[in-house]
């Protein structure tokens, strides 16, 4: 992480808090709670807002064994041991097929709800997990930025004079906030489960709870101590309590007839569905699935993960369809890089470059976008990308979220008509 960026983001946070004070918006906490409760009781109106769910596959997913070019002979030359056989793939057309563990997504492709975008990447690909994920999260390959591409979207779409509208502008379902959602004006809560997300007190003295919460709020509201992390701790600490009450209120009436798989990833998706159907007004949700760094014995690990991904997303899609909100939701799946074309000696693959992306939803124009990258004309053993990832971002921003992609990405990028 870059230092000057770190300090500048702290300064921005301080300025933000100061700005709120001047505008008279740093309201008392009882007012804030009233607003949260109010926001919690408003049912979301179908068609009102478009929602984006971002799925990050961490570790670098091997694209060639996800969308398998089974019709291209050189695929099997590069992968004599781990290549997936033509009779095993879930064919999308005469050349491409999905990994056999992805039956759920294959069905959604048949229904025209899944777009597969091929050979996505960026110039001068970085093969470091940490730098490359940062590039994807910030939408900026050329320099280090302290805000994420969706963080900048949230900043631009937040209505500065109405704090209530910015409550839960986005929700991250992972323990750690990804840079994707790091913003200047909006703090995005990270919530792994509603049940544990409660302010607890000594169960022997439950009658003291009110006194403690009121003291807690007063202490946080007036904690003016000039130390570097104090503003951040105050803001996030208050947000935690506020979001806890709000989320509990909106999720308690959720019922679902869909059976999700018993995985952490599927539980996260179910929680997102709970929030969407319960009336949380977030426009962005973030979730990740980890473990794709398959240098060794790739097949077993990757097929388990892709099964988890595919079954989770299929359940999620069925659930939001059953709740009648599926027209408002689009899911986008990415990873920090694809992997080397040739397999290594451990039945695995090393860090590579371009990869396929998935976009899923009722509003999505399903199909395959872009040409398959050459498997023989390589850059140092790696695929040459054909579509810049910022083109995909720009299409989602302009065409789905009705935002200004140029302001967010700093440049104009070609649009793809998948949505």
């Amino acid at each position: 992480m870059n230092n000057s960026d770190n300090s500048s983001s702290n300064v921005t946070r301080r300025n933000f808090l100061k700005g709120l004070g001047v505008a008279g918006l740093w309201m008392s906490h009882s007012e804030l709670f009233a607003l949260a409760a109010q926001a919690a009781t408003v049912k979301r109106i179908a068609g009102k807002d478009k929602i984006l769910v971002v799925v990050q596959l961490s570790g670098g997913n091997d694209g060639l064994n996800t969308v398998v070019p089974y019709g291209i002979g050189s695929y099997y030359d590069a992968r004599p041991q781990i290549g997936i056989k033509p009779n095993e793939v879930l064919a999308l057309n005469g050349q491409l097929g999905l990994n056999p563990s992805m039956t759920g997504l294959a069905q959604l492709f048949k229904k025209g709800k899944l777009a597969v975008i091929q050979a996505v990447g960026y110039p001068n690909a970085n093969r470091s997990h940490f730098r490359s994920i940062e590039i994807w999260q910030t939408g900026c390959p050329d320099k280090i930025r302290d805000t994420g591409w969706l963080g900048r979207y949230l900043d631009l779409s937040s209505s500065g004079n109405n704090f209530a509208n910015n409550l839960l502008a986005a929700v991250n379902v992972d323990p750690v906030l990804p840079k994707t959602l790091s913003a200047n004006k909006v703090i995005v809560p990270s919530v792994a489960s509603v049940e544990d997300f409660r302010f607890k007190v000594d169960p022997d003295y439950p009658q003291d709870r009110g006194s403690q919460i009121s003291a807690f709020e007063d202490i946080y509201a007036n904690f003016n101590l000039r130390r570097p992390y104090v503003d951040l701790l105050r803001k996030v600490g208050l947000e935690a309590n506020k979001a806890s009450d709000n989320l509990l209120a909106v999720t308690k009436n959720y019922r679902s007839s869909v059976d999700y798989p018993e995985t952490e990833f599927a539980r996260g998706l179910k929680f997102i569905s709970q929030m969407i159907t319960g009336g949380v007004n977030s426009k962005i949700y973030n979730i990740s699935l980890n473990g794709f760094d398959t240098h060794v014995n790739q097949a077993r690990t990757q097929s388990r993960l892709l099964k988890n991904l595919s079954e989770g997303l299929a359940s999620f899609q069925a659930d939001i369809e059953a709740h009648g909100v599926a027209d408002d939701v689009v899911v986008m799946v990415f990873s920090e890089f694809g992997r080397r074309v040739a397999e290594n000696n451990g039945r695995g693959t090393d860090h590579g470059t371009a990869e396929p992306m998935f976009v899923l939803g009722n509003a999505v124009h399903g199909g395959i976008y872009g040409d398959h990258p050459s498997l023989t004309n390589l850059d140092n053993g790696d695929l040459r990308h054909k579509i810049d990832f910022r083109s995909v971002y720009a299409s989602v921003l302009d065409r789905w979220l009705k935002a200004d992609s140029q302001a967010i990405l700093g440049n104009k990028f070609d649009q793809l008509p998948f949505v």
Binding site: D196, P203, Q212, S244, N344
Partner: protein
């Protein structure tokens, strides 16, 4: 009294995990300079009491949960706090996770290696870690073979363990990977698989020849970029974020001059004028390990047998399972709504008399029993000094006094009705201080 000790408390929070009142007394009597020396030369300190505690516990080192509790005991009861703190630093630096290694005993061996070299020579440590069975599995060097190199270790050793990104080329990664071919593991030890080693010519960072793994370790340990990378990481870990380049250069040159020794760098950091300044004081966020172990010490809690490692994990720090090979980012990354709520709820558990069927942890009334406390103000000051060295705005102190002078219905009273109310209020008071922003600061 408080101001005199803040730099000793500050030092013990950074070079250790906070302190019990008894430890604070011991180090205060030594004075700052001698306190630094005692921390930096752990071999001079008798640690047999810790050995007895550990011996009485009958840990099974093939079980990862036992391993976590074992380390928590070490961090809590050691008389050599810097040795454990540096072991934790290296665990985050050479991050290795049991989720992939799947062998608790090898994780245990790695932890012993990190502790052995924690305050030694970086080149020796890097050599040890390159030959470490858990690391060889974690970064796939077991699959790194002649003619079919696996680049994982070669890349991360340059990007994360030594020089940092931008100081090497993709070609250096590929060539170094060849030098590490055949560096395998067998039966919990290092095994040089000569048949899988590539004896051909290589060129790593401008050095030519039939290089093997030890050559690459020596090349990397001696790079100026490694000196800067380690210096910056140590200053950030122990002192404050975003150190000035000239301070980084100062500490980096200590590394170079001492031929890669770790102790002189730490000494230079702890004695640096900026370490004893507002720039460093309460300027970092406690890691979950610091928060939990510090609480055990401050409140002299005896009951460690609960799921404390699980709580640390829920706050974002699962020891023996860092989130990735990059370790824990620290700083602002510790602060999310979810992890803050977990910190609040840890405070609730630590102060509650009974919680989820567990026996009590802390007993605040026992702590104040021998203090000569006459009123609510003195009571609040006692715990503010114990827990946060009194470093809170005046409004916080006033609000806490209001809280302890009210009964369980919230009504202001001139005296608390009974012992039960007093106990509730003392627990509530410690809970509130522990949930405040001040207590999250290191």
């Amino acid at each position: 009294m408080v101001t005199k000790n803040i730099w000793i408390s500050h030092l013990l929070r950074r070079a250790g995990f906070g302190c019990t009142p008894k430890e604070l007394h011991h180090f205060s009597k030594l004075g700052y300079e001698a306190a630094v020396d005692e921390l930096i030369y752990p071999d001079t300190v008798d640690n047999s009491a810790l050995d007895r505690v550990i011996g009485s516990q009958d840990f099974d080192f093939t079980q990862i949960d036992d391993l976590r509790r074992w380390w928590l005991y070490r961090m809590t009861f050691t008389k050599r706090p810097l040795e454990e703190k540096m072991t934790l630093f290296w665990h985050g630096h050479f991050a290795t996770g049991d989720n992939k290694v799947r062998n608790a005993y090898n994780m245990y061996l790695q932890n012993l290696l990190l502790r052995k070299h924690a305050l030694g020579n970086f080149q020796d440590l890097l050599m040890g870690i390159t030959r470490d069975p858990a690391m060889i599995v974690y970064l796939d060097n077991q699959q790194n073979r002649r003619g079919k190199p696996n680049e994982n270790y070669a890349r991360e050793v340059m990007e994360l363990f030594t020089m940092g990104i931008g100081n090497y080329s993709e070609r250096d990664v590929k060539e170094a990977a060849r030098a590490f071919t055949g560096w395998h593991t067998r039966q919990a030890s290092f095994f040089f698989n000569t048949r899988q080693h590539d004896y051909g010519d290589k060129n790593v960072l401008g050095v030519h020849g039939d290089l093997d793994g030890s050559d690459v370790v020596r090349i990397l340990a001696a790079r100026p970029s490694t000196a800067r990378y380690l210096a910056k990481k140590l200053i950030t870990f122990f002192a404050y974020d975003n150190p000035d380049p000239q301070v980084v250069e100062e500490i980096a040159s200590v590394y170079v001059m001492s031929k890669f020794k770790i102790k002189p760098m730490l000494k230079a950091i702890f004695k640096h004028p900026t370490f004893l300044s507002e720039k460093a004081y309460h300027a970092k966020v406690k890691s979950p390990v610091e928060l939990v172990v510090g609480t055990l010490k401050h409140l002299e809690m005896q009951n460690l047998d609960a799921d404390l490692p699980t709580m640390m994990s829920r706050m974002g720090q699962n020891i023996f399972n860092p989130p990735s090979v990059k370790g824990w980012d620290g700083g602002a990354a510790w602060v999310s709504t979810d992890s803050m709520m977990e910190r609040f709820n840890f405070a609730a558990r630590a102060t509650a008399q009974k919680f989820d069927e567990l026996h009590y942890y802390a007993s605040p009334s026992e702590l104040v029993y021998k203090q000569n406390i006459r009123n609510a103000g003195q009571l609040v000051d006692y715990f503010l000094n114990l827990l946060v060295e009194g470093d809170v705005p005046p409004e916080t102190r006033r609000r806490l006094i209001t809280y302890v002078s009210s009964d369980l219905t919230g009504k202001q009273v001139s005296a608390l009705a009974d012992d039960r109310t007093l106990d509730a209020k003392l627990r509530g008071l410690v809970h509130l201080i522990m949930t405040s922003p001040a207590y999250q600061l290191a």
